[in-house]
């Protein structure tokens, strides 16, 4: 430890904490170009296609939006937790979570087309579906158009406020070194976490659950949370591994930090499975039609292979791989699992959202090219802009008061 602190000025030198000018520009441009092409293809496919194709395109674009939103919200909640518990070990990794968190405005842009075109896939907005529907009538005081949009404004207002405040506190500390900024961030995080818990749960009810507005599940808010918090951890590990390969963060982010992120990934994989199974199990056992119909669709009619793939890909396989300590300490294995989990999180959201779109005579529509481009569009743009964001700041919060602790961090078990 004494050794690490003696070298601190060298570790925190610009050469070790700032990427060279123009780093990642090609990757960013490639991602943005791919995002632009896929969005153009999505629009083309929707405009030229029939009504069903339009719905498919919008639903899958919605999935892409939710993937990016989950990454940003998960990173923000992690930042708040790390501030709140005053986690010294995380001082050197927090900046990457902050970069992802600061992308909330991009998510808002993705949400706008979904919000405008919502009646196409949110059938409860359409009187054609809800006239004389007693289940809807009982939910109508909450699930009505004006309140839906008011809530969306509240969610995004809260998310923009917290993400931009926390981001600026951290970036500001880079230049002025004011330790009180850490205290402010910690204070904000206390009530911020409560607000995040409520807004993310209700956003999940509004934007995912209400697609099937007859359905009941009190577990769904936690299900969304359990999924995105794990992939936010995975994305952080992936970014750090790539940055280490780019030759920065030497001695700042070590195998020890990656090991701990691997533990968190493992924990959230188990947590996701626990929540997902609990939701399924209670509904399966209770056997009440307005609850089981949600799973019935996903167990029949071609969606069953997706459900099985989800159970194995999102739980069993990463669970077994991440259980081994050497796997969590190996950057290549950890990066592979991180990419794997990012992909299966997208499948998870697809599995929640897309079975609600049918052909006019009620048949399911499986994954097709239009789904692929519609999901990739927002995701590629998000990552393209994220690469720029990462390159534009020091890769660690250089003046964080807990930096010594973060540098010296080690796992003793």
């Amino acid at each position: 430890m004494a050794h690490a602190i003696a070298d601190k000025s060298k570790l925190l030198s610009a050469a070790n904490t700032a990427l060279p000018v123009g780093a990642g520009r090609m990757a960013s441009l490639a991602l943005l170009a791919l995002g632009g092409i896929t969005i153009a293809l999505t629009i083309l496919g929707a405009v030229l296609g029939d009504d069903t194709a339009k719905k498919v395109a919008l639903a899958s674009f919605h999935v892409g939006f939710l993937v990016t939103l989950g990454l940003a919200l998960g990173s923000m909640i992690l930042v708040m937790i790390l501030h709140q518990v005053n986690a010294g070990w995380s001082a050197t990794i927090r900046r990457q979570l902050e970069n992802v968190m600061s992308m909330i405005p991009v998510c808002l842009v993705f949400f706008l087309p979904v919000a405008i075109l919502a009646p196409m896939i949110f059938h409860w907005m359409d009187p054609h579906y809800t006239d004389g529907d007693v289940v809807y009538a009982a939910k109508a005081s909450f699930l009505n158009k004006p309140f839906f949009y008011v809530r969306a404004v509240i969610y995004f207002g809260a998310w923009l406020y917290f993400s931009q405040r926390l981001y600026r506190l951290s970036i500001g500390q880079d230049s002025d070194g004011d330790r009180w900024r850490s205290a402010k961030a910690r204070k904000m995080s206390s009530y911020g976490l409560l607000i995040m818990a409520l807004t993310t749960a209700f956003a999940a009810f509004d934007w995912m659950m209400s697609l099937d507005y007859h359905w009941f599940s009190t577990m769904f808010g936690v299900y969304f949370f359990a999924g995105f918090i794990g992939v936010a951890t995975s994305l952080c590990a992936l970014i750090l591994i790539i940055l280490r390969r780019a030759g920065v963060m030497e001695g700042l982010v070590t195998q020890e930090h990656l090991h701990d992120l691997g533990k968190l990934m493992f924990g959230f994989v188990v947590f996701w499975a626990y929540i997902g199974f609990s939701q399924y199990f209670l509904i399966w056992y209770g056997n009440i039609p307005e609850e089981t119909m949600w799973f019935q669709v996903r167990r029949t009619d071609g969606w069953m292979p997706y459900s099985v793939a989800l159970a194995f890909g999102r739980f069993v396989i990463p669970f077994v791989v991440l259980m081994a300590r050497p796997a969590r300490r190996n950057p290549m294995i950890l990066a592979t699992v991180a990419i794997w989990l990012l992909a299966f999180n997208a499948l998870d959201l697809f599995w929640v959202v897309r079975p609600t779109v049918h052909t006019p005579d009620g048949h399911s529509i499986m994954f097709g090219w239009l789904d692929a481009v519609a999901i990739l569009g927002p995701v590629c743009i998000f990552f393209g802009l994220l690469v720029r964001k990462i390159a534009s700041n020091p890769v660690v919060p250089v003046n964080d008061p807990r930096m010594d602790e973060g540098i010296a961090h080690k796992n003793y078990v």
Binding site: F277, Y280, Y285, N287, R325, Y412
Partner: protein, 185 residues
């Protein structure tokens, strides 16, 4: 170390040396490790960070013990439920299929956790050589301070490299004092 002689009641357990500070015992441990000893230990009133590497300890076997028992508990729990409610004495409950995996999951999970927990406790005790009534080191007056302010290294005579003179010299060279032979009891 001419004053050190084997007192042959039950033979020699080994040699014990005291050290000034956590740093001193840490660096001494590195020297004992590099000298190639295997049956020895460091005694300190506080956990000393990095001591595992300084002693050259390998990872614990606990994960394998716990993992094996957890797998046994989970598979045993699943098979027991499946055999009783789908094979030996099928009863219709709530119109569910006899062999549905869903209904077996909670008990399967809990038995996995139970076996893991129990094997963790007893495996830890077994690996640490516990329970035991006494330890030869307790006969040393100085050693009592290992739970207060003393830092010690004890090397057992069972070690293949053990030689009372050479081992004592090594500890002395590494900064040890109050070096004493500890009798086996």
């Amino acid at each position: 170390m001419a004053g050190l002689k084997k007192k042959s009641h039950g033979g020699t357990w080994g040699v014990l040396a005291e050290f000034e500070s956590p740093a001193a015992v840490y660096h001494a441990a590195e020297q004992v490790r590099d000298a190639g000893y295997s049956k020895w230990d460091v005694y300190a009133p506080i956990p000393i960070h990095g001591m595992d590497e300084a002693m050259g300890l390998k990872g614990s076997k606990m994960a394998w013990i716990v993992g094996t028992f957890a797998a046994m508990g989970a598979s045993g729990g699943f098979l027991l439920q499946w055999w009783t409610s789908a094979v030996a004495y099928p009863i219709v409950v709530n119109d569910k299929p006899f062999g549905a995996w869903e209904q077996f999951t909670p008990v399967t999970f809990e038995l996995g956790v139970l076996f893991a927990g129990i094997s963790a406790v007893f495996g830890m005790l077994a690996i640490n050589g516990l329970p035991r009534w006494n330890h030869p080191l307790f006969s040393s007056e100085r050693f009592l301070s290992a739970s207060d302010d003393g830092f010690f290294i004890g090397i057992e005579s069972k070690d293949a490299k053990f030689n009372s003179d050479a081992t004592s010299k090594l500890l002395e060279k590494a900064g040890g004092f109050n070096i004493e032979m500890v009798e086996d009891q």
